[in-house]
Point group: C2
Chain length 554, copies 2
């Protein structure tokens, strides 16, 4: 790889740096762009009614002829979830490892994109050539199997991207992170290290996934008289494997419950990432054929999601499982920030039904803590450091680690989505800003809900709506019918009849003054309706429902 | 106190047992009822637009002639916040300690209730007689000063109520919890112990408030070059005192910012609970007269509340303080469950502005952990145990502690709000259930927003609204004007014109079929409008906005 024109490499994060989620980064060299990951973000609390958020890829569309394809680090939603939506706009090939591809294909089938999407499965240790880039996939550990770090070779130098990772010396399945290869590439000279910041504020080392298996064994040993119900992340196949191992050891049958859990387990077993002993898995309907203490349910709902299987059990609305005072429920997870309250609620509901709930020491993180990050910086020894994947405070903590290991302050970049960082051996700097953003998905609509609609939803949510309808005579503007006042989400009308009656009278008086005259135009009438109602309602209730005047003429 | 009729004591929690907040408990013996605390609850996420929730006190209203007054344990909102609303319904005297009364009076002034409300300040160690009850106030420690445990003496026996408490052997102000008196009353023989469960799932002992002061001293020593901004709970006067102490020691001027913080500090200084050295406190406008490193701001916003002072600084919209890269911001608090995400957001905003943010080891809880609860059970040695104050899982953990100390399983009661527990030396059991509930306060409206209104707000928040208006001719039902379709919070209309145009056409076709015939009544027409629009919109968007048909006739 020779850099004949002395061109520079551009690194352009198109999402993922202002929040957890929506990870997507473009790497550009001359006529070649490769895109690493294509994730979605879950809506924040103010995005009322929104299902998910996908990245704005205008920059890729404007440079469509350069874009060679998507390289995917692992199969979590925040790295693959936007693919089906983006592929409908840009038909690009996907390169990733086997399990990751299996999970992606499940999505492509749902969106009817299998036939049109080129896909290539890559093994750890293999490289692919994409235009002027060569990308090498390197084994790492994470809370999902088949996660990869990427060595991105360009004529301007090597970028090393860790993906989401932890260092697990004793993984449940497959190999430990390939630290030797990390070191070997580091030895060649790496221009730039982009590393996972999620746990950069936590000191120490993340525990091995295997420690959870040991805890499970203890729990199974100590609870031989009760049914076990274990909630965890659907995509954590190793976690599921360890539950199955303990179940097999203690002679329990295993039921898998929750759609996403069933999906992933099916894919993982088919592809050989999960080893289920014969006669261990049973259907949920077979539960009644076994004594409760000889069964274990593995279920979704570890985040307290209202529609997930465990939440439905806790609320007493699950069609096949009802919680018994003899049940032991285990949360093998920790709440994702923002979900603490929902998780508490589910724990309270389960406790109130008499179940014993265990939620401590039954989970380890999938992300590297400070000592692991130090290890990676020391193996890679990059010239430049770019913390990725995390909230701002996490990026900042990762940057502090880089600096503490001797990387010069001006060589550490906390980037924002849209920044164009030009890097070469000589220098690195942000030279440009491209258009980025989140596109809201609501039902079938992609991008048809924007700020105005969200602002209206927030207003409606706070105070409800008050609709004032009038019918006027064409030409004379004489009031023929109305004003009728209809409200929703404002007050319970039956108990507030006098308020609404008086509102109507106030409205009639105000209209008396502004109708009649032929000059009164509709805009003015609407303004009078809005102002009159606003004033009256605020005075009486100290609330500001949305006021919608509707005028018809006949 | 003789129990001549062999009557039983009734303990009736009217709130506070299903959630944190809304603490209020009635104690009834023959013709006497005393009410302990009168708190509000903050709205849960599904209570859209609601300001606060107060307890339904129908039971007290029905027994108005028996009710002797409110006895208040301490000045937190979840113990006093509903007073102004309840006092408007029932004019009852209030009995509490000096600072607590000061905070209550601040509320009474706002609600214009000072003149009509009888108030008596009680000292720790004193008792008051209320009908057949005698109530003794006993010194405890908590995250607000002047907190009390109550010994409630009735002819049927003694109930000991801890209030919210911790054991602080070295409090910042005033005395440690009066454990000797706890023991003395325990020695007399206590029927029933009601104790704070908030931290019952935490092992060990809660640290002394003084440990935070030591941390502050370290932080002040290590940050002599930067301005300090410290966010904490307004009501934690001891915390504020310790910040002021460190500021004085290091020669910094102190600014207090945020309305609730200013209020409480004013009350606490006036009443002698806060000792501010002369020339230490300055107005916010004087900040510019001092070098930043010689100032410290104490501010509200430690929970990431969007309108609080610190959040406004972080968002860059505070009128008097703008965050500088040289600022050090300290969260002297831990997030109340449900606020984790908002707190994170504020930390990220502050970090992005360059500020150094400290949020570890700068707070201690105000509630007793497991070892403290064991101590209290062992000093009081009650016959019956009633865990109070906490979510279900906390109550359950407290109950487990009671049992582990030898209280018989059948003598430990996890009660629900509304349960009537009849207690005597011989037996205790739940004999009845009274009406309880939360009444929603929205603006000036108390109770006019109920489930129907909330359900509508949730629907509007998710999917918005679509209003279909028609004007018909009286008698013939002929369509004179419309259908006009107006939407809010549904789609961004300018980009969805064709959807709305087509919706109108579909509507016209459907109306063609159901109008004209003279038998078509309005209910049927409305049904057709609703069904037609629902079907069409669902098919096109997979969304379900609220459909409101409005018919006028002329």
């Amino acid at each position: 790889m020779k850099n004949e024109n002395n061109s520079k490499l551009k690194i352009i994060p198109l999402g993922g740096l202002e929040q957890i989620g929506m990870n997507i980064t473009a790497f550009e060299f001359e006529d070649s762009i490769v895109v690493v990951d294509c994730g979605l973000a879950f809506p924040t609390d103010d995005m009322l009614g929104i299902d998910l958020v996908i990245p704005d890829i205008s920059y890729l569309e404007e440079n469509a002829e350069k874009v060679k394809g998507f390289v995917i680090t692992h199969g979590h939603e925040d790295h693959i979830g936007a693919l089906p939506y983006i592929l409908k706009k840009m038909n690009l090939p996907i390169y990733t490892t086997k399990l990751t591809m299996g999970i992606i294909e499940n999505k492509l089938k749902e969106h009817n994109l299998m036939r049109t999407t080129r896909r290539k499965v890559v093994k750890h240790g293999q490289s692919i050539n994409l235009g002027k880039f060569r990308i090498e996939f390197i084994k790492t550990n994470h809370s999902i199997q088949d996660a990869s770090a990427l060595a991105i070779y360009s004529p301007a130098g090597i970028v090393f991207h860790t993906g989401d990772f932890k260092v697990d010396y004793t993984p449940v399945f497959g190999d430990a992170i390939d630290l030797q290869r990390f070191a070997e590439i580091g030895k060649k000279g790496v221009l730039c290290l982009m590393s996972d910041s999620t746990n950069a504020i936590r000191p120490g080392f993340t525990q091995s996934e295997r420690t959870v298996g040991i805890t499970f064994d203890h729990i199974f040993a100590e609870h031989q008289d009760t049914r076990l119900i274990i909630a965890t992340f659907a995509s954590n196949v190793d976690r599921v494997q360890q539950i199955i191992n303990s179940a097999y050891k203690y002679g329990r049958k295993v039921v898998v419950e929750g759609r996403s859990m069933v999906n992933i387990i099916t894919i993982a077993s088919e592809l050989g990432y999960l080893n289920i002993p014969e006669n261990t898995l049973i259907e949920i309907d077979q539960l009644r054929n076994f004594p409760p203490e000889k069964t274990v349910l593995i279920t979704t709902g570890s985040q307290g999601e209202s529609m997930a299987a465990l939440s439905r059990m806790a609320a007493g609305v699950h069609r096949k499982v009802s919680i018994q005072p003899t049940d032991t429920v285990i949360f093998s997870s920790s709440p994702i920030p923002g979900n603490e309250k929902s998780v508490s609620n589910v724990i309270n509901e389960l406790s109130a039904l008499g179940a014993d709930v265990i939620f401590q020491d039954t989970h380890v993180s999938g992300h590297a803590c400070q000592e692991e990050l130090k290890l990676i910086y020391s193996l890679i020894k990059p010239k430049y450091a770019i913390p990725v994947h995390g909230e701002f405070r996490h990026l900042k903590a990762n940057a502090a680690i880089a600096r503490s290991l001797g990387i010069a302050k001006e060589n550490v970049f906390i980037m924002q989505s849209g920044d164009v960082l030009e890097v070469s051996e000589e220098s690195a700097k942000v030279v440009d800003k491209v258009h980025v953003g989140g596109i809201l998905v609501d039902g079938l609509g992609v991008g048809d809900v924007g700020n105005i609609v969200l602002r209206d939803r927030q207003h409606l949510a706070e105070d409800g709506i008050l609709i004032v309808v009038l019918t006027l005579q064409k030409g004379t503007n004489q009031l023929l019918a109305g004003p009728d006042i209809v409200s929703r989400g404002f007050v319970y009308v039956r108990e507030s009849e006098s308020l609404m009656d008086e509102a109507r009278k106030v409205m009639v008086d105000a209209l008396d003054k502004c109708l009649g005259g032929k000059h009164a135009d509709w805009n003015k009438i609407k303004l009078v309706v809005r102002d009159t109602m606003n004033d009256y309602i605020w005075k009486k209730t100290k609330r500001r429902p949305m006021i919608i005047p509707i005028i018809m003429d006949v």
